[in-house]
């Protein structure tokens, strides 16, 4: 049993690399997901993950399967879509969700077009589903770097970000940090999605960001607790996803995300903060 769990990582360096990559991802992305969920922007994360495709594709066109070019392209495309959507929402009648939908759909179509005109279907599959079992040193450094930056920046903007979620009007009236905070947060979302798409692909990247965060809502009472639980869930899902994939031959990205999904279902049923089962158990109410 122990051998089945530890063995693959001892024996194969690609499994160790995948593990390091996934753990880095699990450290950076779920805290961002917690804030996306609390700001009711969960689906925005999904849209953004599609929006980075054309940038990655253009990077691929210019430099081949280059990690740096594709990441930079993806980052630029994601940020451009996020900012354009924000600007349109602020200066026209459209709400942010509608303008974001418009931009990301265009971006996605453009990305698929570019990839399929110039690359092969294999390349498209790489971009869409990631290559967690083929992470090289550069990719691991990128993942670790992004999650480090992400955690440090999140710590710096933590208080204004919580306020921006809870009472944006108060933040606007008390300080000038409202817009910068929102912008920096968007940058963090895009950065983590770029990190995620290296390993899990554009389609799955958002899964490790959001599913642990959503599951964490059922376990913790405050934001910092949710962040800890979300990171923990992402860790466990990553390790067990890698093992599942190793032993059964299932594709790794979907395996990790499916395990995150199982954690979500379990949390939804058994989580002490508003989980389904707890609501079914009749409990006597308190005095006050």
């Amino acid at each position: 049993m122990i051998d089945a769990i530890i063995g693959p990582f001892i024996e194969f360096s690609f499994m160790r690399r995948a593990l390091v990559g996934c753990l880095a991802l699990s450290l950076g992305a779920p805290p961002i997901g917690v804030f996306l969920m609390l700001r009711r922007m969960s689906l925005m994360g999904d849209a953004m993950s599609h929006a980075i495709l054309p940038g990655a594709a253009i990077g691929y066109l210019l430099a081949g399967l280059s990690l740096f070019a594709m990441s930079l392209g993806g980052f630029a495309a994601g940020l451009a879509v996020a900012i354009a959507a924000g600007l349109v929402a602020r200066s026209t009648v459209l709400r942010e969700d509608a303008s974001l939908a418009a931009f990301y759909l265009v971006s996605l179509a453009l990305g698929v077009l570019i990839v399929s005109v110039r690359g092969s279907n294999i390349d498209l599959l790489h971009v869409l589903f990631g290559t967690v079992l083929a992470l090289d040193d550069a990719a691991i450094l990128l993942l670790a770097g992004i999650s480090t930056v992400s955690l440090v920046v999140l710590a710096v903007i933590y208080r204004p970000l919580v306020l921006e979620c809870f009472d944006p009007q108060f933040l606007r009236s008390a300080s000038a940090l409202s817009s910068p905070t929102h912008l920096i947060f968007l940058v963090l979302v895009v950065l983590n999605l770029v990190a995620g798409f290296q390993a899990l692909g554009t389609l799955m990247a958002v899964g490790i960001m959001l599913l642990p965060a959503i599951a964490a809502r059922f376990w913790a009472e405050d934001v910092s607790g949710m962040i800890l639980v979300a990171v923990g869930i992402a860790f466990i899902a990553s390790v067990s996803g890698l093992l599942l994939s190793y032993h059964t031959g299932a594709p790794t990205g979907p395996a990790i995300i499916l395990l995150c999904g199982i954690f979500y279902l379990l949390s939804m049923m058994f989580g002490p903060r508003g989980g389904l089962l707890w609501n079914l158990v009749p409990r006597k109410h308190l005095e006050a």
Partner: protein, 257 residues
């Protein structure tokens, strides 16, 4: 209150939305330390005026002088709060945000400030609820939390937009005591209200609005039946196809669309 510096001076000030003025051509001064009720029917422009003072709207015309007060000197309790009450945050943390001017984005809440927050909670009668989640409070309790936050903001100018909406009379009495204590401390307080009786009982001065100034001064002289009737008539005249207002005094020229 003679010879006091004005806290707010309006010079032919107009605020509105899409070129339609919600409140226009206001000229006058609010003296430092005033306790001013802003009264008028729905649509009179009370909220708009407060939003304009706090800087959420920019003037369509005229100007506003806040006597050098900065954003952090103004505390504002809006009518349409954008607060997400399902957000997982404790009552204590919510109230502690009132310390923003002192602690900003990074400084911690030390023992002294911790004590200040506890004291503010005690003053609004919620001393035992600091650890409770904001989502678990009743409407009246939540309004008390917002007042505790205002207490900690320690602002020179306090703007309250319909602060007694949907709270019971016991809560209203407590909150009015807080407002009177701010007045006694020399802060300038503006409150948009629609209950004429509350205004008569507690507010020394009143600004009666009906998209323009109907009367402004001592409450007793402002809230006359004639003035109140006039304010109701004026508000009903809002017109979607209004002509360009000709009362401008040549400061800015605007053409019809």
């Amino acid at each position: 209150m003679p010879n006091r510096e004005p806290a707010i001076a309006f010079h032919d000030l107009t605020f509105g939305y899409d070129r339609h003025p919600a409140v226009h051509h206001i000229t006058g001064e609010v003296p430092r330390g005033a306790l001013l009720a802003v009264v008028g029917p729905n649509g009179a422009g009370k909220s708009t005026l407060l939003k304009g003072i706090v800087g959420e709207l920019s003037p369509l015309g005229g100007s506003l002088d806040l006597d050098g007060m900065k954003k952090s000197d103004i505390a504002y309790l809006p009518q349409q709060i954008e607060i997400d009450r399902s957000f997982p945050i404790s009552v204590f943390d919510c109230v502690a945000m009132g310390l923003w001017r002192e602690i900003g984005a990074w400084r911690g809440v030390d023992a002294k400030r911790d004590h200040e927050v506890a004291e503010a909670l005690a003053r609004v009668g919620l001393q035992d609820l600091g650890d409770r989640a904001v989502g678990a409070l009743s409407g009246g309790q939540f309004q008390r939390v917002l007042f505790a936050r205002l207490l900690l903001q320690d602002a020179a100018l306090i703007l309250l937009d319909e602060p007694f909406r949907a709270v019971d009379s016991k809560t209203i009495d407590d909150l009015i005591q807080l407002i009177l204590s701010w007045h006694a401390e020399g802060r300038t307080v503006l409150a948009a209200l629609h209950e004429i009786d509350q205004v008569r009982a507690h507010f020394p001065s009143t600004l009666l609005l009906a998209r323009e100034v109907v009367a402004w001064g001592e409450t007793r002289k402002v809230l006359t039946p004639a003035n109140l009737a006039k304010s109701r008539q004026l508000v009903e005249a809002f017109d979607a196809h209004a002509e360009v207002c000709e009362r401008e005094q040549g400061e800015r020229e605007r053409r019809p669309a």
